[in-house]
């Protein structure tokens, strides 16, 4: 049997529901206060009556008293004895609030102080009304039974007899009549209340002998109530044996009263009742208007998911449905469909099971797919199960859906009270109350929505005076809208108030040190408006008790984010503000995209993804840029901030992630993620398929991890983490700030490193050796047919641009493996720049280019014809010395005089001025290996700076340089009296004789072509000797 505590819980729930239904009714009443709808009054009366009825049963005195007074007031109202006034409405509201407070902690409700409310209500009650005399009425005497007695107010008794109502006592046994039949006392009370008016109820414990026998002995409940029904019909109406009913004798009182002006119902009508179970209404003049004679109906909320702990409780069907008489208005709260109450825990279990089923189905699909071809009838069976699983899961999820009207309902009252308090005129309009959301989302929405609405009332809508000034209607409007769009539910709070002054908000935020002035300047209107969601922000001049404590808005944002939703704000000064809450439809099963980064799989909910972009390696330079230290992607006409998933999750090692994007030889895959109205790009390694995944909550240890919103089990059994886009973005922003700091620190280092980055061309001969040459030395790479190579006098030539190109084979001059060229149909020829005599190097395969720092080793692998070697991309690479090769191949063109070598090379300082890192490195190496001290300069300007400070013995000067080229430099040097005699040698790729002439004329001591080690050193030493000798 249901014990007392459980019973109380049900009573409290039902009473709360009653109270909730009263509020909108009262608001309606207030709107048409001069012309009140009797239906509404009746509705309110019935609700209060129900509360009062059972209160006595449970012994809740104060609840009983308060509801009793409210009932009196309402009864006066519905009898037309009183007019509705704002004071009356206020008093009733006050009463409701007090009742609610008492129900919140029902066991201590008797200690509640309700005097204020009672006074308020009493004041409204007809002050002339005499305090009613209490009379005692008794049951009609029966043999063998003790007549039970009840006390009743005389005025009430008068009313009942005037209306032709009968008074009865109902005596029921708790076990026999109720529990054994699956009914609760509350069910009976509800039935009584719906057939008439409950006067009193009490527990009759006379028959219980001692606590020990309590459970076995029958506890009896006794009710006194008044109804229009005749005695014979009560048992049917209340579904109890007829001997439980006794009529109360009020004859004596009736006679005192005088002739009765009402007609009892005719037996014909009674017969009708028997047949249809409904009571037809007769509008006879003897029955005063406004009296409720239709049987009232229990009010039920349209969503019947109850918090009761009795899964599968007996269906609660209403007992009497009134007939649809044309002159009767149907109560708005009619029950329309049979419903069952189901416990929430039970539902949750169902949802979990649905989830498991989806998981199992996914697994099955994965395993079965390869077998489908060979197994007949397997595919249809799998498809069938798959379809059913999806449908079942959807339906089960729907069970958890409830209409938002559940929470929208209370806002009417909130707006009214608040507006009154602040002396503003505001009306609340709601749309889309039927829109459904998952139950847990609805629960979680209640507080944030309340805060937003209060905010609108408090800060949004202006005072009537101000509104008039701005030529706005005196009454402000707040619209509360719910609607579906694009897989989400939107809840908009739209007010036509003053809007948000964004610059002012920005100022305030700066003052409160939430942002810096610079940051504020960079923010657009929307971003400034969003500042109100920052913790610690409150623009209220006085922190009002209503809102403005600065803790509200940021909590709203957090709460909504936690639900997987976002908040958007749109405001126009003087016109109003719209705050949109964008919420996901369901929680538990989500369509997700599987992505992979650095070997790990993650899931990204499909709803967050806008599009997938693939950028080919050659487009990278164009489309991905670094703007103020942040990486951005150009997508059509937008600039998207680009973050790398690996970076944000801390998975990347040095040299990976967004900063190394330029190096990539593979396409870059970017997911465009939507986050409210803003977007950003997420760089990942690979994108796989879309899967329906069952979201499992993150263990509590990971709740703080903003990057993840849950976990799921993949079809093949492993766990994957579900990414939270909001969290990722926030983390990335922070990350960016850190990166920024890092970059500042190492800026100087990077600058120097950049100097050494070179682009090299890699090639090979289909042998183990690999070669490289600086790309800037190469003018063309030709692919030629082996057949077009001509042999003349033991040398190979190629017809090239109207000229004969002398071909050089590396294997002829270098100690490398000889490739087998006999089968080659085509081969490659590398043509260097600015050669005096056209020559080309023949290679088998050109691999590609590489952009990297080169650390050339001129010692380990050395031979004439090689600059040196280096390890590039993990492979030993040889650098052929083109110029030497050509000299070796065609000595007749590249003859040279061998001068004396200065043995005294040590301690001579040479200033090497060369912008190309490769040459600078090589030349420096030549010089240092010959024993010179080398100072480096990148261009003429640097050179002059150095010359101003330092002493050098000679200068090796390039011609083509940025900032200040060789010509300017030499002129500057010669212009300087100090440096007039300084030996300066030009080493340049300009290898024509005209250059040499001009050079010498301009002041160069020597002129040399790149890049001949011996000749360079030779000429240098010649220069220095001559200098020494003072020539």
């Amino acid at each position: 049997m249901m014990d007392q505590d459980e019973l109380i819980v049900v009573y409290v729930e039902e009473s709360m529901q009653h109270l909730e239904s009263i509020e909108p009714d009262l608001l309606e009443l207030e709107k048409n206060i001069d012309n009140i709808d009797s239906e509404i009054v009746n509705g309110i009366f019935r609700a209060v009556h129900s509360i009062k009825g059972a209160a006595g049963f449970f012994g809740f005195q104060k609840i009983g008293n308060l509801s009793h007074i409210m009932e009196n007031l309402l009864s006066q109202l519905r009898e037309g004895k009183m007019k509705a006034s704002p004071g009356l409405v206020d008093a009733l509201f006050a009463g409701i609030d007090a009742l609610r407070a008492m129900f919140d902690d029902v066991t201590t409700s008797d200690q509640f102080d309700i005097q204020t409310e009672i006074d308020q209500l009493s004041q409204i009650l007809d002050p002339l009304e005499q305090p009613s005399k209490i009379v005692t009425v008794k049951e009609k005497p029966e043999i063998g039974k003790q007549a039970k007695a009840f006390d009743i107010e005389e005025s009430q008794l008068d009313r009942f007899s005037k209306n032709g109502q009968f008074l009865y006592t109902i005596t029921v046994y708790l076990k026999k009549d109720l529990t054994d039949k699956g009914r609760t006392p509350l069910d009976l009370i509800n039935a009584i209340v719906s057939t008439g008016e409950l006067i009193e109820s009490r527990l009759d414990i006379d028959r219980i002998q001692g606590l020990a026998n309590c459970l076995e002995n029958e506890i009896t409940f006794v009710f006194a109530f008044a109804t229009i029904l005749e005695e014979d019909f009560i048992p049917t109406a209340l579904d109890i044996p007829s001997d439980r009913v006794s009529i109360i004798d009020i004859e004596a009182h009736k006679q005192k009263q005088g002739p009765v002006t009402t007609k009892p119902l005719l037996s014909k009508e009674m017969a009708q009742i028997e047949e249809t179970g409904a009571i037809p209404i007769e509008e006879s003049e003897s029955i005063p208007k406004g009296i409720e004679i239709k049987t009232p109906v229990i009010k039920e909320k349209s969503a019947d998911l109850d918090q009761s702990n009795t899964p599968g409780a007996a269906p609660s069907k209403d007992r009497q449905k009134p007939e649809d008489e044309p002159d009767l208005k149907i109560s708005r709260h009619l029950q329309t469909e049979e419903k069952i109450k189901v416990g929430v825990n039970f539902l949750n279990d169902l949802v979990n099971l649905a989830g498991e089923m989806v998981l199992g189905r996914n697994q099955l699909n994965q395993i079965a797919m390869p077998l489908v071809k060979d197994t007949p009838r397997l595919n249809p069976a799998i498809q069938h199960i798959s379809r059913i699983t999806t449908e079942m899961q959807e339906k089960i999820m729907q069970m958890r859906m409830q209409p938002v009207s559940i929470i929208f309902g209370k806002f009417g009252r909130i707006v009214r009270d608040l507006a009154k308090k602040l002396n503003k005129e505001i009306k609340l309009v709601t749309f889309g109350e039927d829109v459904e959301l998952d139950r847990s989302i609805i629960e979680a929405l209640s507080d944030p929505l309340t805060h937003l609405i209060r905010n609108s009332v408090d800060h949004g809508i202006e005072s009537s005076g101000d509104r008039e000034k701005f030529k706005k209607p005196k009454q402000g409007t707040i619209e509360l809208k719910a609607y579906h769009q694009a897989g989400h539910v939107y809840i908009d709070i739209i007010d036509d108030g003053g809007g948000i002054d964004c610059p002012w908000v920005g100022q305030k935020a700066v003052e409160k040190k939430l942002i810096t002035k610079e940051q504020m300047k960079e923010m657009g209107e929307k971003e400034l408006a969003r500042l109100i969601f920052k913790p610690g922000f409150s623009t209220a001049k006085q922190v009002s008790s209503v809102s403005g404590r600065g803790v509200g808005m940021d909590v709203v944002l957090t709460n909504i984010n936690q639900l997987g939703g976002t908040v958007d704000i749109d405001t126009t000064l003087y016109e109003g503000t719209t705050i949109s809450l964008i919420l996901p439809l369901t929680l538990a099963i989500v369509s997700g995209l599987v992505i992979r980064t650095l070997g790990q799989s993650f899931i990204l909910p499909e709803a967050n993804i806008d599009e997938l972009v693939r950028i080919k390696p050659d487009e990278i330079e164009n489309r991905i840029n670094f703007v103020q230290n942040s990486c951005v992607l150009r997508l059509r006409d937008m600039l998207l901030p680009l973050i790398s998933l690996g970076d944000v999750l801390g998975l990347n090692r040095e040299g990976q992630g967004v900063n190394m994007v330029e190096d990539r030889t593979e396409p870059v895959r970017v997911l465009v993620i939507k986050h409210g109205t803003s977007r950003f790009g997420l760089m990942v390694d690979a994108v796989e398929n879309i899967e329906e995944i069952v979201v499992k909550p993150l263990p509590r240890y990971l709740k703080k991890q903003k990057s993840f919103s849950g976990a799921c089990i993949m079809g093949e059994g492993s766990v994957s983490l579900i990414l939270d886009v909001v969290g990722l973005f926030e983390k990335a922003k922070l990350h960016h700030i850190d990166l920024k700091k890092q970059k500042e620190k190492t800026r100087i280092d990077i600058k120097s490193d950049e100097k050494d980055l070179q682009t090299l061309l890699l090639f090979n001969n289909n042998t183990f050796d690999r070669f490289a040459l600086p790309l800037e030395l190469i003018t063309r790479i030709e692919r030629v047919k082996s057949s077009s190579i001509e042999r003349v006098k033991g040398q190979q030539y190629l017809q090239y641009q109207g000229d004969k190109l002398r071909l050089v084979y590396l294997e002829d001059y270098l100690p490398i493996e000889r490739p087998d060229r006999s089968c080659d149909e085509t081969t490659c020829v590398i043509v260097p720049k600015q050669m005096k005599h056209p020559m080309g190097i023949v290679v088998s395969v050109v691999e590609g280019t590489i952009h990297t720092v080169v650390d050339i080793d001129t010692k380990s692998i050395m031979s004439p014809g090689l600059f040196g070697s280096a390890i590039l991309a993990d492979k030993i690479t040889l650098f052929p010395d083109m110029y030497r090769l050509f000299e070796l191949a065609a000595p007749e063109w590249y003859g040279g005089d061998c001068g004396l070598r200065d043995k005294d090379a040590s301690l001579k300082r040479i200033l090497l001025v060369e912008d190309t890192p490769f040459f600078r490195m090589v030349e420096k190496d030549y010089l240092t290996s010959a024993g010179y001290e080398v100072i480096e300069a990148e261009n003429g300007r640097q050179a002059l700076d150095i010359l101003a400070e330092e002493f050098v013995d000679a200068v090796i000067l390039d011609i083509i340089m940025p900032e200040m080229d060789g010509w300017e430099t030499i002129r500057a040097i010669r212009a300087d009296p100090r440096l007039k005699e300084l030996p300066v040698m030009a080493v340049t790729s300009l290898a024509d004789d005209i250059g040499a002439e001009k050079g010498l004329a301009e002041g160069f001591t020597q002129w040399e072509a790149k890049l001949n080690k011996d000749r360079l050193l030779e000429k240098l030493s010649n220069m220095l000797i001559r200098e020494k000798e003072g020539v």
Binding site: Q600, G650, K696, P699, L702, K704, A711, I713, V719
Partner: protein, 167 residues
């Protein structure tokens, strides 16, 4: 009072946990690491459709992290719901395992022993590399020293480390 302790081997130590807290011992493992999380959390695992948080006990006890998990076993603990009945009957007090399923990485299972509370000694001071707050005490069983782990403290510590991860 007598208690049944299930013991296991971690590195060179024998550790024991109240058997009432243990749900099962699991063998096959495929752990998904959690990026950017404290070292105590080895990762997440799928156990018959439920997500299990795998704890690296070695890290909790201030030892080097477990490297090779191929031969490890997973000691799966019960949840609060499952030990509710022990609490109401008084067998256990003040132990909170949380609602999430947690598994401890161990090297090898050992025997189940019955001990008396009175025979549990406080941790000797020279027990290095073990966080003293995480153990209830030690007990000697036939020349073998067994450390009784305070599961509550372990989980609380992990919770604290995770909570302080926020930037």
């Amino acid at each position: 009072m007598n208690r049944q302790i299930t013991t296991f081997i971690l590195g060179d130590t024998h550790i024991g946990i109240d058997i009432l807290l243990v749900k099962e011992v699991y063998r096959h493992m495929s752990i998904t690491p959690i990026p950017d999380s404290p070292a105590q959390l080895k990762g997440l695992m799928n156990l018959r459709g439920r997500v299990v948080t795998v704890i690296d006990l070695n890290v909790c006890l201030n030892r080097p992290a477990t490297q090779n998990i191929d031969t490890s076993r997973l000691l799966v603990l019960k949840t609060d719901k499952e030990i509710e009945k022990y609490k109401t009957s008084g067998l256990m007090k003040n132990i909170f395992l949380g609602d999430d399923i947690v598994g401890l990485l161990i090297d090898q299972m050992d025997d189940v022993i019955t001990i008396q509370d009175s025979k549990i000694f406080p941790a000797p001071p020279n027990l290095d590399e073990v966080e003293e707050t995480l153990i209830e005490g030690v007990i000697k069983q036939e020349e073998q020293l067994i450390i009784i782990l305070d599961v509550n403290a372990v989980l609380e510590k992990i919770m604290a480390v995770c909570a302080s991860m926020e930037e």
